[in-house]
């Protein structure tokens, strides 16, 4: 039966975003509304996750029209966990913005744009309809265009032109892919699509459409040959915005690939999932090459996003139980830790006034807390056992071994080493060594604790894996057995 609770994580940021437009000249009111709505969204997400854990998949039939005729919102465990992490990132991102974003951006609708971004991301995770997914992609992309260009520096303007061009192109491709799929199957509801395709068989045409969807979502989620737009674009806006982008936007693409490749296009795995496996491997490879090549703090973290996307998709591509579970663990871990790393990179850039590692050094004596937070985050990123990155990578590698992809599983292991190298490069060059004169703003009060929250969460996630495990297992069950999802959505037929 319809449960409106599913809509709440979407409606709260949407309502807050609209409300904030009326208060663009009152920064204090904006901050209060933003925090209140984020806290409310977080609580609702926790409640939703608990409900899904106890009572199974929750759906809401919008307007009371039964699927496949109406739009349906589906909260399975996978989507709920991602909505929950989105709410966490949203809250910490807003707290981080207070001290870092500046008055001019606050006046020009920064907080409404953040709320619309969160609404778009949440909607994309929860929707059960392909065209609706497109709409939410556009909602989050429109908000991200605003956030990327807001401030109007030369670099932001240049990079936002690239970013918008790439995304407009991939959105057009998305519409074309949806049109093809609709022409072949006559439906857009994901559960119904899955049923229709398993009834009529995955013909060559549908496999082509599956690859087209991989291209579309790969462009949004930055996988190997389609990631070229990402390093420049994510480097342009301020750290608070990059943290939101790095933690949320590419993950929506990853989520969409996972969803369509575990629910809809599952009958020709030898072809589609083999492509995905190799693209994931190349994504990992090119990600780590980028992350060890640069001396720019933000660039290093940005290339680590690409590596992580490869790892997550490799887990999905092998589609063994261990691989899927691993990719879920790693996705949740990566959202949290990328947020923390961008917050900390933003703090370093603000203190030193430069993003170049060769021009900074010796920060640890004056800034011990950010320093050690960066150390822990870097170690967690590489997947050192007590922290959050370990279990995900372990399971992904286990899944890869079980599927016989030994070479790529070893590539994942080897990539961890280089990821650790890149993270330690930031730590050693930034925080150790000779103390160099500080050229930026030494006041970072209030910017550290959102990072502390995320690092603590990451540590708790790593230490309390036993507590998280049942949730992830339930999420993996749904992804491995599409009939659970289909039955929940289409049960009243």
């Amino acid at each position: 039966m319809s449960n409106n609770l599913v809509m709440m994580p979407l409606l709260i940021p949407l309502f807050a975003g609209i409300l904030l437009i009326f208060f663009n000249r009152k920064p204090v009111v904006q901050r209060i509304i933003s925090v209140l709505s984020s806290v409310a969204a977080l609580l609702v997400s926790i409640f939703l996750t608990g409900t899904v854990f106890q009572n199974g998949i929750q759906i809401v039939e919008i307007g009371g029209w039964a699927p496949p005729y109406g739009i349906v919102f589906v909260a399975d465990m996978y989507a709920s966990l991602l909505v929950l992490s989105t709410a966490v990132i949203g809250l910490t991102g807003i707290l981080y913005s207070f001290r870092s974003i500046g008055r001019e951006r606050e006046y020009f609708f920064y907080y409404p744009a953040v709320q619309f971004l969160l609404a778009g991301v949440t909607g994309a995770f929860l929707t059960g309809d392909l065209f609706n997914l497109f709409v939410f992609f556009e909602v989050l992309l429109m908000a991200s265009y605003v956030l990327m260009v807001l401030g109007g520096t030369k670099r932001q303007l240049r990079e936002s032109i690239k970013y918008i061009s790439v995304n407009v192109f991939s959105s057009a491709l998305f519409v074309i892919a949806v049109a093809f799929l609709y022409a072949v199957t006559g439906t857009l509801n994901m559960a119904d699509l899955s049923v229709k395709i398993s009834e009529n068989g995955q013909t060559g045409l549908i496999t082509v459409i599956a690859v087209l969807f991989l291209v579309v979502f790969g462009m949004k989620g930055a996988i190997f040959p389609l990631y070229v737009w990402l390093p420049g674009s994510y480097n342009a806006p301020p750290a608070a915005v990059t943290a939101l982008f790095g933690a949320l936007l590419t993950k929506v693409g990853v989520y969409a690939i996972t969803r369509v490749y575990t629910l809809i296009f599952i009958h020709d795995k030898a072809f589609t999932h083999e492509i995905l496996t190799w693209l994931a491997a190349l994504t990992i490879l090119f990600g780590v090459i980028g992350s060890i090549a640069y001396w720019d703090v933000k660039k290093i973290v940005i290339y680590n996003i690409i590596t992580a996307i490869g790892v997550i998709l490799f887990g999905v591509a092998v589609s063994t139980p261990a691989g899927i579970e691993g990719s879920i663990y790693y996705l949740l871990h990566d959202m949290i830790i990328k947020g923390a790393l961008f917050f900390l990179a933003g703090i370093m850039i603000r203190i030193t006034g430069t993003a170049d590692l060769r021009k900074m050094g010796g920060l640890i004596s004056r800034y011990p807390l950010p320093g050690w937070m960066l150390f822990i985050a870097g170690v967690a990123l590489a997947g050192i056992p007590p922290l959050s990155g370990f279990i995900g990578k372990l399971k992904v590698i286990q899944g890869g071994m079980e599927a016989g992809e030994y070479a790529i599983a070893f590539l994942v292991l080897f990539s961890s080493l280089l990821v650790l190298y890149s993270a330690m490069k930031i730590f050693i060059n930034g925080f150790w060594g000779e103390e160099k004169p500080i050229a930026g703003n030494p006041d970072v009060k209030g910017m550290v604790y959102p990072a502390v929250i995320l690092v603590a969460l990451s540590a708790a996630f790593g230490l309390g894996t036993e507590f998280v495990a049942p949730f992830v297992t339930q999420a993996a069950e749904t992804l491995l057995d599409p009939s659970i999802y289909i039955d929940a959505v289409l049960k009243e037929q």
Partner: protein, 145 residues
Amino acid sequence: MKRTNLKTNDLILQTTVNIVFFIIFIFSIYIFFAGHYTPGGGFVGGLLTSSAIVLLLLAYDVKTVAAIVPFNFLKVAAAGLLIALATGAGGIFYGEPFLKHAHGPVHFPLFGEIELASATAFDLGVYLTVVGVTMTIIQTIGETE
């Protein structure tokens, strides 16, 4: 164009616009209400209303039009969104799913029984948003030096 000190006299244009504005505006309202049974609705209705205001902008200058239509169009757009969202959320309070629409005859003192649907309120939200967004775009570009 060569700059002259001669002031151009837009008498014909302005007089025509004064009349045509109301025709277009009323037609846009008609289109808006016709949306349920015939082609039309909030989107085209909103665009037509904005085009009427744009016609005013062509005949007069930005300041005069701001005095004639004294709205902050950004807030109009936000109000439209709020109305649309409130219409959708209204269903929740009656234990129905989001965006469940109600319809039925409503008695008015002057007009008698009229069939009303809450989808019209959603459309009103769309209408206001379209007007607000279009006018914000045009005014912002027009004012930029």
